[in-house]
């Protein structure tokens, strides 16, 4: 089934064969030098996909090792480097830049009726900083690789003889890239909204990106200074976190998590924005509780800053702080709950069509509730004592980061694929892959919850024999998962090359990004649209292009 056949009736007049941003200049230099937010978005997309497959390969290798309780396949040091690299690549190279860098860049200006982001040159710079940071980090991996875990806890990270410096430096540069992306979005949203697009008409994806940007701007610098101090400690022995000189290792953890807990919301807020958009399109319904969904993004961005201590419950943090952070963690859960219930509410009395993105929406909803609720369970101070640094935590965060964020990333990829490239992909294969991924995902990570309950600590190269059965189950699941991603890779590449041309608005969506052509021309709009209604208003069946364009 081709999308274009079934949804033609809804599409506006297809202004197809005009020059679009992809065909307007095809030399290499025209890409390298571009100021176009859409091209920067596409380059980010390509880069983060490479990072994802790299990180995924590391993950599969990890899982292979864990088939056997004893030494197998590699030695302990290689294993330790491998999970560090898996974590660093997946978090700093993939998930943090993924949705904001790729889809945020592409869609936010389109959605708010702007011709570009506020600082196009800075935007390009942010991409090159990403490449530079990635290059430094990968160079470090090739030259030995660190074995600290992605958390770089001192004093281990300041004393291990492996190559920590390049990775720290890479993370620092990547942080800069992330800051610039966020800064740009905040300014864009404040100053470049189209006439008539007031705050309470802004698409929910833009709200999600806006909340994310606040975190990126305000949290990332603290990570920057923290890794810098560790670097100074390593090569100059300043001893700021060194207990032998009166330093406090727990201070490091406070500073690290002041960034890294909010950072988990950098990873999930854009994903939530994607779900807010897609759930409306595929239900053909206005967002249920628009205001609640929009403002809860801000709520997460703010309260999310003050829960970092829940990573330190057994780290020697004081009981007072544990209580304060535990309580605040409970509050941050509420904002997510509001969103979840409103997404489900959006489907109520809608006109739902089951497509590949919708399959991922269903997966997302289930995984975010399960993953999020296990987060709440972990924040219940006393329960964390047993679970801390076991596979329960590993399963918790993979449920959110893979189960929710990656699902949303995939939903976005499929939903906006026609918008970005003007091509359609095979819906049948899309559903097969989605089924495989959701199934494989459960098979991989549900056993890890049980392993955590059973008492298996994470970052274990060898483990006591009685954990083996569950580990084998998890590895089997991860193979399924891998095949799912492989299928997606194949049919998307095929679609890119040979896919049928799609219409301007194949999904019949009333999101504002569909106001421009697909793929959009370099300057996005011939004339800046005037917005006269909320996004996703499906009370009439005029195509959204008819939202009065002045």
């Amino acid at each position: 089934m081709r999308l274009s056949e079934t949804t033609d009736s809804l599409a506006g007049a297809p202004p197809l064969e005009t020059l679009n941003y992809l065909t307007d200049g095809t030399t290499v230099m025209s890409w390298v030098n571009t100021r176009d937010h859409k091209r920067v978005g596409v380059m980010f997309l390509a880069a983060v996909l490479v990072a994802f497959f790299l990180g995924g390969l590391f993950a599969l290798t990890l899982r292979m090792k864990l088939l056997q309780p004893g030494p197998f396949l590699m030695d302990a040091l290689s294993y330790n480097r491998l999970f560090t690299l898996h974590g660093v690549v997946m978090i700093f190279l993939f998930l943090i830049p993924a949705i904001p860098g790729a889809f945020g860049n592409f869609m936010v200006p389109l959605m708010i009726g702007a011709r570009d982001v506020a600082f196009p040159r800075l935007n390009l710079a942010s991409f090159y900083l990403y490449l530079l940071g990635a290059a430094i980090a990968i160079w470090g991996m090739v030259h030995g690789g660190a074995d600290t875990g992605w958390t770089f806890y001192t004093p281990y990270s300041s004393t291990t003889p492996t190559q920590v410096l390049p990775i720290l430096l890479g993370v620092f540069v990547l942080g800069f890239s992330s800051i610039l992306t966020g800064l740009n979005f905040i300014v864009t949203v404040h100053t470049l909204r189209a006439p008539g697009l007031n705050w309470m008409r802004m698409p929910l994806f833009v709200w999600g990106i806006y909340g994310t940007s606040i975190i990126q701007v305000l949290a990332t610098p603290v990570l920057g200074i923290t890794v810098l101090i560790v670097a100074v400690e390593r090569f100059a022995g300043f001893g700021m976190f060194d207990p032998a000189r009166g330093g406090d290792p727990v201070l490091y953890q406070h500073m690290f998590w002041f960034y890294s807990h909010p950072a988990v919301y950098i990873m999930v807020l854009p994903a939530m924005g994607v779900i807010s958009e897609t759930v409306c399109t595929f239900s053909r319904k206005n967002p249920f509780g628009y205001r609640a969904i929009a403002l809860s993004s801000l709520g997460i961005a703010f309260v999310g800053f003050f829960t970092w201590g829940h990573h330190l419950f057994v780290a020697g943090q004081s009981t007072f702080d544990a209580g304060a952070f535990g309580l605040l963690s409970m509050l941050v859960g509420i904002f997510t709950a509001i969103k979840v219930f409103n997404w489900v509410g959006t489907m109520y009395r809608g006109a739902i069509k089951f497509t590949t993105p919708f399959a991922y929406i269903c997966g997302f909803l289930y995984f975010i509730v399960f993953g999020g609720m296990t987060g709440i369970a972990l924040a219940t101070t006393s329960l964390d004592i047993h679970w801390h640094d076991t596979y329960f935590v590993v399963a918790h965060f993979h449920f959110i980061m893979v189960g929710a964020s990656v699902m949303a990333f995939l939903a976005a990829l499929h939903y906006w694929f026609p918008k970005m490239f003007g091509k359609t992909y095979s819906e049948g294969w899309g559903l097969v892959a989605a089924a495989l991924i959701i199934l494989g995902f459960n098979a991989t990570f549900v056993p890890q919850f049980l392993l955590g309950n059973y008492g298996m600590p994470r970052r274990y190269y060898q483990y006591p024999d009685h954990f083996q059965a569950l580990n084998v189950a998890s590895t089997a699941g991860s193979t399924l998962l891998g095949f799912g991603f492989l299928i997606i890779l194949i049919y998307l590449v095929i679609a890119l090359r040979w896919g049928a041309r799609c219409t301007q608005n194949p999904w019949g969506s009333k999101g504002f990004e569909w106001l421009s052509a697909s793929p959009p021309p370099t300057h996005n709009f011939d004339e800046i649209p005037t917005i006269t209604q909320m996004p996703h208003d499906y009370r009439t069946h005029e195509p959204p292009g008819v939202i009065r364009v002045s």
Partner: protein, 135 residues
């Protein structure tokens, strides 16, 4: 907060939002800053004990408020910029608060008399050869 963009047609009004301007406020602020520096220097050398820190911080805050509001023109900025500045300060305050609260309310013996006390620097040689103790 910024309102939606309306193509502006009266550029002159835009570019000089505060037409009558004089340098006197800057001069006054500069003198005030010098005065406050003198004050903090004097109070600083009085060894006020427990009060030294609050006094010094209050003076520093007053000084930085002057710089931010007058020199940096926060008084004529949009609400968004003020919000950015205020948010940054609130976050800094809470970062420091929670971290110090942890140290201040720890388990009593956490850092016993004589700390810092000995830890071994790790021995880089052995590790890379991968000497994992046998079980």
């Amino acid at each position: 907060m910024a309102e939606s963009a309306t193509p502006s047609s009266k550029p002159d009004a835009d570019h000089q939002p505060h037409p009558s301007h004089s340098a006197v406020p800057y001069l006054v602020v500069w003198l005030a800053l010098l005065g406050l520096t003198a004050l903090t220097y004097i109070t600083g050398s009085m060894h006020l004990g427990a009060w030294a820190l609050p006094v010094a911080l209050t003076i520093a805050t007053a000084k930085s408020a002057l710089v931010a509001v007058i020199f940096m023109h926060l008084n004529e900025s949009s609400g968004a910029t003020r919000l950015v500045f205020a948010t940054a300060l609130v976050f800094v305050a809470l970062l420091i608060f929670f971290t110090v609260a942890d140290v201040a309310t720890r388990f009593k013996l956490a850092t016993p008399a004589g700390a810092p006390f000995g830890t071994e620097r790790s021995q880089p040689e052995g590790l890379l050869e991968n000497q994992v103790p046998d079980e």
